[in-house]
């Protein structure tokens, strides 16, 4: 009797009860549950850390820079309107540089367009016109368009936000 108890206590097979050898005891279940729970908890701690590390390698330079477009996407004297956060940015390319301005007109908040022929920024709503530096040329806008600092890195256009 004491031998059987000793074997059971050690977790070994019982010679008199072979059918009960695979039975999961309450203690085994609790142990497994604790191990599984700890594993899940550990995974819950590791995953956010991985997701923090992962985007830096995938999305390029950090430090308040937002990628707008690839340089090759915009021809010289061409432009592109890009959504940035809750707003829009108008980015255009001259032979010497790439410039980016808020695409929101300072008059009533319409989205401005790039006029390729006149090489000016125009507002379709009330004919506001801005020059290459975002300054008001004519029309009702009361202020210039806010400008973004542009950086071109490895053929990609970034703005500082």
């Amino acid at each position: 009797m004491s031998e059987i108890h000793a074997r059971n206590a050690a977790g070994g097979p019982s010679p008199c009860c072979p059918a009960r050898e695979k039975r999961i005891t309450r203690r085994d279940f609790i142990d497994m549950f604790i191990k599984g729970g700890l594993l899940v908890t550990l995974a819950g701690m590791v995953l956010p850390a991985l997701s923090y590390i992962w985007p830096v390698t995938r999305r390029g330079p950090a430090g308040g820079l937002q990628e707008l477009a690839r340089l090759e996407d915009i021809p010289v004297w061409g432009a592109k309107k890009v959504t940035l956060g809750a707003s829009a940015v108008l980015v255009f390319r001259t032979p010497h540089e790439v410039k980016a301005f808020s695409a929101v007109c300072t008059h009533l908040g319409c989205l401005v367009d790039w006029d390729n022929q006149k090489r000016l920024i125009t507002c379709p709503c009330h004919a506001g016109v801005f020059d290459l530096n975002g300054r008001v040329v004519s029309g009702p806008p009361p202020k210039p368009l806010p400008e973004y600092t542009v950086k071109v890195i490895d053929g990609k256009i970034f703005v500082t936000v």
């Binding site: 609790i30 549950f33 729970g37 809750a86 908040g109 319409c110 709503c125």
Partner: protein, 411 residues
């Protein structure tokens, strides 16, 4: 004695106020007698630039004796009549060499002679015709950019109204005298007087200042089009342009009126159109279709704005939807000038964009709300897991404690 009086005025009244013109004032004996006029004049733009009495009234201010100062040969004219005022002012203000250094235009006198006021004065000899001093003042003339100037934008309508609101003055010309009251209540008047918008249309912006003339039926569009550029552009593309050319239709005033222009809304399609069209005709139906699209776009924009605002308050990130909202807003605002073309095709395009974008915004927010809902539901299994972990850890703790107690019953 005169010299003592002169120095008294110079140091007490004049010296501190206008030091730049000390030399001219030193020789100006006019102010000894005309001290009250000097009081009005000493802060004026003219005194600041050493333009004093004799430039307008003639005479020799250097003479201490009054008779000598006004003697023949001194070009003394006393109080100038209106024609003399225009010519005296024009003597300097139409002179390119004199005005060059002040950067002032020199065509005022030429323009004045083409104006209704100038024609009245010069052609008809009617002294009711307003002249320079009627609008700018005389002894106390200040720069037009000085808020105290009678022609400063906020003061200008009142200045014009001094004559144009006077029934006795206007009676011979059969002019209405309620223009100022109408203007005050108009969208332009409210913007000027209540919002302080100095760029808004005032009397001179539409009629001209020195060359003031009432715009004719055909010129109204050009006058309004100076500010309302897109409205003018699209109007010229529409069917009313020809009617306006033929003189059947006053470009802007036929629908918007003139001095009492109110902020327009789509109700104009129900009222102004009926001045020329009848309810059943095709043109009226086209107007109604445009009205419906504009109203519907405004409603869709307002609903989308509300949706995005509510979602933001619920803590949902709505950056994409807010960006789309700006596109919708652009389409809706663009419709206002575009409607002057009366082109259903162009309006339909903007309307289609607006509806499609607002639908996208609604779906986007719905999707995010759904996602938030599922994330909240997913909290339940998480809470159950935490609860079970607490239970089994408690059981394990008791089990281990029991073993310890078995091994060491004294503990």
């Amino acid at each position: 004695m005169y010299k003592i009086k002169f120095f008294f005025w110079l140091f007490l009244g004049v010296g501190l106020a206008a030091p730049v013109c000390a030399q001219d004032i030193k020789n100006n004996n006019c102010i000894v007698c005309h001290a009250d006029q000097w009081e009005q004049m000493k802060g004026s733009i003219h005194v600041q630039h050493q333009i004093t009495c004799d430039r307008c009234h003639g005479g020799d201010p250097a003479k201490e004796d009054m008779e000598e100062a006004k003697a023949p040969g001194t070009n003394f004219i006393g109080i100038p009549n209106k024609v003399q005022i225009a010519e005296k002012c024009g003597g300097c203000h139409a002179d390119v060499e004199t005005m060059n250094f002040y950067g002032l235009p020199t065509d005022q006198l030429a323009r004045y002679k083409t104006s209704a006021h100038g024609k009245l004065l010069f052609a008809r000899g009617d002294e009711h015709g307003a002249v320079c001093s009627d609008c700018h003042g005389y002894h106390d003339v200040v720069s037009v950019i000085d808020p105290q100037s009678p022609v400063y934008p906020v003061n200008l309508p009142g200045t014009c109204n001094r004559c144009h609101g006077d029934k006795a003055v206007m009676a011979p010309y059969k002019h209405p005298t309620d223009i100022f009251e109408k203007y005050q209540k108009s969208v332009h008047g409210v913007a000027l007087f209540e919002k302080g918008d100095l760029s808004v249309a005032n009397c001179a912006k539409c009629h001209g200042s020195h060359g003031a003339m009432p715009p004719g039926v055909k010129e109204i569009g050009n006058t309004c089009g100076k500010c309302h550029v897109n409205e003018k552009k699209y109007f010229l593309q529409g069917p009313h342009a020809q009617a306006s050319q033929d003189g059947y239709f006053s470009e802007c005033a036929s629908c918007h009126d003139y001095h009492d222009i109110q902020r327009p809304d789509t109700n104009l399609y129900n009222t102004a159109c009926l001045n020329c069209h009848s309810e059943g005709d095709e043109a009226f139906k086209r107007g109604q279709k445009i009205r419906e699209m504009i109203d519907s776009s405004h409603n869709a924009l307002a609903a989308a704005e509300q949706t995005v605002k509510e979602a933001a308050l619920e803590g949902i990130f709505v950056d994409e939807e807010a960006a789309s909202l700006q596109e919708v807003k652009t389409n809706v605002i663009e419709m206002a000038p575009l409607q002057h073309s009366l082109s259903t095709a162009q309006i339909t395009e903007l309307y289609g964009n607006a509806v499609s974008l607002t639908d996208g915004i609604k779906k986007g927010v719905q999707g995010k709300r759904q996602s938030l809902k599922w994330r909240k539901i997913a909290l339940f299994p998480l809470w159950i897991f935490i609860f079970l972990m607490v239970v089994v850890l408690q059981i394990k703790y008791k089990e281990l404690k029991g073993k310890k107690d078995e091994r060491d019953p004294r503990a």
